[in-house]
Symmetry: C2
Subunit: 436 residues, 2 copies
């Protein structure tokens, strides 16, 4: 199959991330899509600054219309942002019969209805997974994964800046303005933070989610929007005392009377999973009548998480470019001819950490024996708890947490430990994963 040529409008953070991901994972992406995806052109206002990625083989242009009017380009990726020139470019690309992938939530929330109408007229696709919640495939989950459900409501932490600020306010007992300033220094907040902290960015994303959840037009102007600037650390503390966390939520709920669309600070019981989504992370809970509540969590912004969604959309579009059954989603994700023969490892070739519970005699020198054996196998100890003896017990539990070690090595150490006179039972062993 001939490669698919794409053009990037904008070569900033996400554009650079997209080029990097397409290059780094070219082989796997081709195995999934069934065709090679090649960035043939990219536009940047200031070409000298386009050094965020390896641009070799990519024709760099200053005028983005060079890309949307290039007959060789089949898919245009719009990463300029805003609803000015980006809108013109997208409409021109569609007019020219090109498919579009966009990360532009403002564009979709404000002008999606007319953009999709134009796309339908031209028989092309506009894909926008990267526009909502960065690397979380939430558009796909709601639009396809939950297609059997009548969706009742959804609620999401869909602005990382606000979530970072609220998390810091709770963890460090700091005030809003204090944390905001720091977030700006760290690059988590824009120098003009209005879009984020006033809830507008979240409202753009909520508009899109509500539309695909309920089958309603995009109606940004109807969203109730309240930001987090008035939240004080005192409220955060009182909420905690009452068993709640304060989060900026975008909420869309279907009622008998109509649809609620609202973005505002919200107390959530702290035992809910979503109440524990901290820092810049995003999460969306979707309540379907059949599936019940499902939750989707991940990075809501950043070069590579957003690029991850750009590429997923590219793969989806590429699959539709031919009508062959081979271009359906492959059963095992990768094309049948591209399945890998990489071996599956036996369990003793696995590296992991361990919890060990020993039953040891309650006398001096026992710990020394055990730790000497572990040291002999190069096994580092993370923590030891020695429990007190119950009355008349001469053997006591000793709990050890090890650092990462090859299981084969640990097995050898356990055999030696179990052979000690001061150990009266088999060592209990449970693996530990930090999932970090």
């Amino acid at each position: 199959m001939t490669p698919v040529k794409i053009g990037l409008l904008g070569l900033g953070t996400v554009g650079g991330g997209t080029v990097n991901v397409l290059r780094r994972n070219a082989e796997e992406i081709c195995r999934r899509a069934g065709r090679e995806i090649i960035v043939s052109k990219a536009s940047a206002r200031d070409l000298s600054r386009a050094r965020i990625c390896d641009t070799s083989g990519i024709e760099l242009v200053q005028d983005p219309f060079d890309i949307v009017n290039d007959p060789e380009i089949q898919i245009v990726v719009e990463l300029i942002g805003g609803d000015g020139i980006a809108r013109e470019l997208v409409l021109q690309a569609l007019e020219n019969g090109k498919h579009v992938v966009t990360a532009n939530k403002a564009l979709i929330a404000l002008h999606g209805n007319s953009i999709f109408a134009k796309a339908s007229e031209k028989g092309v696709m506009v894909a926008f997974e990267p526009a909502v919640a960065g690397g979380i495939p939430i558009i796909k989950a709601v639009r396809e994964g939950l297609a059997g459900n009548r969706i009742e409501w959804l609620a999401g932490i869909i602005n990382g800046t606000c979530n970072y600020i609220l998390t810091e306010m709770l963890d460090k007992r700091r005030d809003f303005h204090d944390v905001l300033q720091e977030a700006q220094t760290l690059g988590y907040a824009e120098s003009d933070p209005t879009f984020d902290v006033e809830g507008i960015d979240a409202a753009h994303k909520l508009t899109i989610l509500a539309s695909i959840a309920f089958g309603i037009p995009l109606q940004f102007d109807k969203v109730y929007i309240e930001g987090i600037a008035r939240i004080t650390r005192i409220d955060v503390a009182y909420a905690e005392e009452l068993g709640y966390r304060i989060k900026l939520l975008g909420i869309a709920r279907r009622t008998k009377e109509g649809v609620e669309l609202r973005v505002h600070p919200t107390l959530i019981p702290h035992r809910r999973l979503i109440a524990n989504v901290d820092g810049v992370m995003n999460a969306v809970v979707v309540k379907g009548d059949a599936a019940g509540p499902t939750l989707y969590y991940g990075a809501g912004a950043g070069a590579e998480p957003t690029a991850s969604s750009v590429v997923a959309d590219l793969v989806d579009v590429v699959r539709t470019l031919t009508g062959d059954p081979e271009n359906r989603v492959p059963h095992l994700a990768f094309q049948p001819g591209a399945i890998s023969a990489i071996p599956i490892l036996p369990i003793d070739a696995v590296h992991t950490a361990y919890y060990l519970r020993l039953s040891a005699e309650d006398r001096p020198g026992v710990l020394a024996d055990v730790t000497r054996i572990l040291a002999g196998h190069n096994i580092s100890i993370e923590a030891i708890i020695q429990k007190e003896a119950l009355t008349e017990e001469t053997f006591v539990p000793v709990i050890l947490l090890t650092q990462q070690v090859l299981e084969r090595e640990l097995n050898a150490a356990i055999r030696e430990i179990e052979a000690l006179d001061c150990i009266n039972r088999p060592v209990k062993r449970i693996r530990v994963e930090t999932l970090g």
Copy 2:
């Protein structure tokens, strides 16, 4: 468009759930898929027991081969389970050129390679979203949503029975066998719990997830499997003391040497989101090189959650039955002609609970005034905290949590409260959502 006729093999819990969801949400599903989906035939071993759903209009048959050999049926939904007769039926359906949707994890894990080969040969699809993690669209997320990533590892709580048992062991300080017996009584565990508690069910699902994550063949026989039967409440308590929770995880990790595939009890730091997935719920963390970690959470079993995934797969297959652009996933999830005009509600028409912070004079009678006003608007109070006065302060914070109320009603009450002499500042109001 003519309706699509499907046949159900098996009319037990999930079969009944599928019929119910297809009927209840028929209108929305048709708006999404662009075609009506009709259950024309269903098979059940004991037809007299097929009363779990409204079977009107469905031809009930005893011999499932009547369905896979019926030329009118385009999609066969296999809900029999196991790898005996189910395998024969699926292969026969494929041989006859029918698409297949299956909830059968054992079948896919053990015989998927040959089943997919047969499907490719015949140019039809085998969809298996319901086979892993019930209502969570995890197959779609990994296979399509993360298509741009080199997936590094994934780790999942993919057996609800084990997670329920481990949660109870922690919360109630009970022993494994004790909780297992109760789970059997409650219907959370089978009378023969081996498949669940010994980790075999989780290993089936892990086999499938690993295959679509890494592009490797299904290799169930290579999975290391260790169940939870040897976990004691003592280990659960020690783990907690060390800051960890014990979960049965299915882990697939790519290393330089090969792929780790293992199911075993695992200590996880309790601050990780997945460590807080409790009861019968499922969750999977997927670490992609671009997206970073993303997490997917929801019900892992049950009639309707599983039916949710069956229907999502049906909609996917139906969309491929024609090659028209109209049968792509619609931009806004629903077909362009089927967008709903349901109104968006103004914020004062919203029902929610509230956190209120008042600045009130520190004297008797103030709380009585405030609660009288709230009662006058039919607003119930969930909790009140009255803070002590700091030295020389005559006004103190009073925190109120209300129950659900119409926002318009609350606004009226707040106006009256703010008019009280004993209140010296505007009432601070934050909405509360239990997301229950």
